[in-house]
Amino acid sequence: MKLVTALVAIVVGVGGIVVLFWALNAAVDRLLPERWRDKARPWVFIGPAVLIVGIYLLYPAVDTIRRSFMDARSENFVGLDNFDWLATDSSVREIMVNNLLWILVVPAVSVAVGLAVAVLADKLTARWENAAKSLIFLPMAISFVGASTIWGFIYAWRAEGQPQIGLLNAIWVKLGGEPIAWLNQEAYNDFLLMVIMIWLQAGFAMVLLSAAIKNVPEDTIEAARIDGATEIQIFWRVVVPQIRSSIVVVGTTILILVLKVFDIILVTTGGDFGTDVVANRFITELFINRHAGRATALVVFLIVVTIPFMIVNIRRFRAQEAER
C-alpha cells in the first residue's frame, strides 16, 4: 500500500513536470499570434526555473540583504552596524583568514585529483575504469555524519599507553612518536579538515570532468598522436583546452561549496581550536546567538566574495559562444 502511494507520488511528480512544459509550449503555439511566439518561447523554457528560483532563493536572498542592515531580531534598522562588526571583530578576522585558505587549497586540489583520476582511468579497460572511478566516488555517497565518524577513526587521539584507535596516531606511535591531538594543533588543523572536504569533493570533480573528457573527439587525439605528440603533450595541448570551460565550472562549483561548508567543521571541531569558517559562524549567529543581523551580514559578505568568480564565468561563456 505504502509502495503504491510512493509510486503514485513519483509518477505524479515526474509526470507533472513533463506535462507542464508540454502544455506551456502547446499554449504558446495554439493561443498566441505568430509574431509573439518567438518572443514568448524563451520564457516558456526558463519560466518554471525562474519562477521557482525567484520564490525559493531570490526573494530570501533579497530579504537577507535587507536584514543585514537590521538588528538581531530584524526589527529596527541599524545602518552599517553589522558590517562594522564584520570588519572589526577579531574572531571574524580569524574565520576570514581560514576561509581564504580553504578557497586557495580545496578547489585546486579537488580539481587536480578529480582530473587525474578521470584522465588516468580513461586509459584503463572499461571494467577497471569503472572500478577505480566508483571507489573515488564512494565518499560522496556517504552521509555527512557517516563521514565524520570515518575521519574520527583517522584523527582520533588516545592517551599515551592506551591503544590508539585513530589510524594516524597508531602509525605515529609505531614510528616512536607521542600521540598527537591532531585537530587541536592550530598550526595545521585547518588543512586536516580540508583533507576531508577534498576527499568528499574529488568524486564530484571526477564525474563531471570525466563526462567532459569523454566528449573530446577521438580524432583530435589521434591526429596529435600521428604528429608524434607524447601522451603528456596530448593531455596539456589537446585535452585540457577542450575541457577548459568544464574545469572552470567544476572549480567554481567547488569554490562555492567551500564557501558554504559548515558541516565538516560543525561535526569535527565545532569551530574550536581556530578552525571556524564563515558559513559555520553564520549558522551559529543565526540559530544559537539568534542575531539575524550579523548572520545575514556574513551571507552578504559571501555573495560579494563570489562576484569576481562570476565575472570570470561570464567571460568564459562569452568566449565559448564566440568560438562555437
Binding site: N25, A49, V50, P60, L124, A223, Q233, V238, I256, L259
Partner: protein, 297 residues
Amino acid sequence: MTAEALAGSKASGVTSGGVPAGGLGRWLVRGALALLVLVWTLPTIGLLVSSFRPQQAVQTSGWWTQITSPLEWTFDSYTTVLDGGMGTAFVNSLAVSIPSTVIPILAAAFAAYAFAWMEFRGREVLFVVFVGLLVVPLQVALTPILRLYSSLGITGEFLAVWLAHTAFGMPLAVYIFRNYIGSLPREVIESAKVDGAGHFQIFWRLIIPLSVPALAAYAIFQFLWVWNDLLVAIVFLGGNREVAVVTQALQNLLGSQGQAWHLLTAGAFITMVVPLIVFFSLQRFFVRGLTAGSVKG
C-alpha cells in the same frame, strides 16, 4: 564540427617527437591510480570493518586490529538499524528523491538551453542572478518558505519537499547544463532548424540525447544530496512518521547523548546502497563517443 576542427588544428601544432605510452607508461598509470584509489578507500574500509565490530571493541582498539588479529565479528549493528522501521523510510526516501531529482533536471535543462541558444532580453543578467544564487545558503530560505507553506497548508507533504529541493538544486543544474549545452556545435542546431524543427523539437530530439552525460552526472549529485538530506526533511516534512525519510529514521535510532553512535557505522552503509546503485546505473552513460556518434549520425 567547429570545436573538433579547432581542436584538431591546435593538435596538429604539437610536433615534438614523443611516443605514445608504452609498457612502462601503462604501469605508471596503473600504479599512480592504484595509490590514489587506496588512499581514497582506506577511511571507508575503516568504517566498514568497524560496522561489523562489537561496540566495546570499537572504543578500545583500532579497526585494523580486526584484520591482523580477528576478534569477534557481529551483525548486531545492522540488525538493530534494519529493525528500526527502515523499510517504510526507504520507500519514502525514494518518493522524495526521484521527483526531487527529475524535476530540477528537466526544468534546468530547458532553462540552460534557452540561456545558451535563444535570444531574449535580459538573458545575461538573468543568468548571472541564477549563478549568483548558488552562494546563498539554503538556511536563509527555510523560514520564508515555511511561512509560505504554512499559509498553503502543504507542510508534511512530499510536494513541499520536492519543490524545495528543486529550487535548491536549480542554480547549480542551470550552471552546469548551460556550460555543457552551450558547448554543443552550432551546426547541429542550425541544420535542425533548416529541417524545420522548432526549439521544442530540437530540445527533445537533439539536446536531451546529446546532453545525457551531463544530465546523468548531475542526476547522481542531486539524488545524493536529496537522499542524504536531513535538514530540509525535518523542516518541511516534520515529524509525520508516515512520510519520514531514511535520514530521519536513522536519526530516531541514534541517542542524543552519543550512546548509539556505533549504529552510525552500519547506518552509513545501509543508506549508501541506493546512491551507489544510482551511480552504477548512470555510469554507463559516460561512454566515449556517445556525443560524437549521435552528432555524426
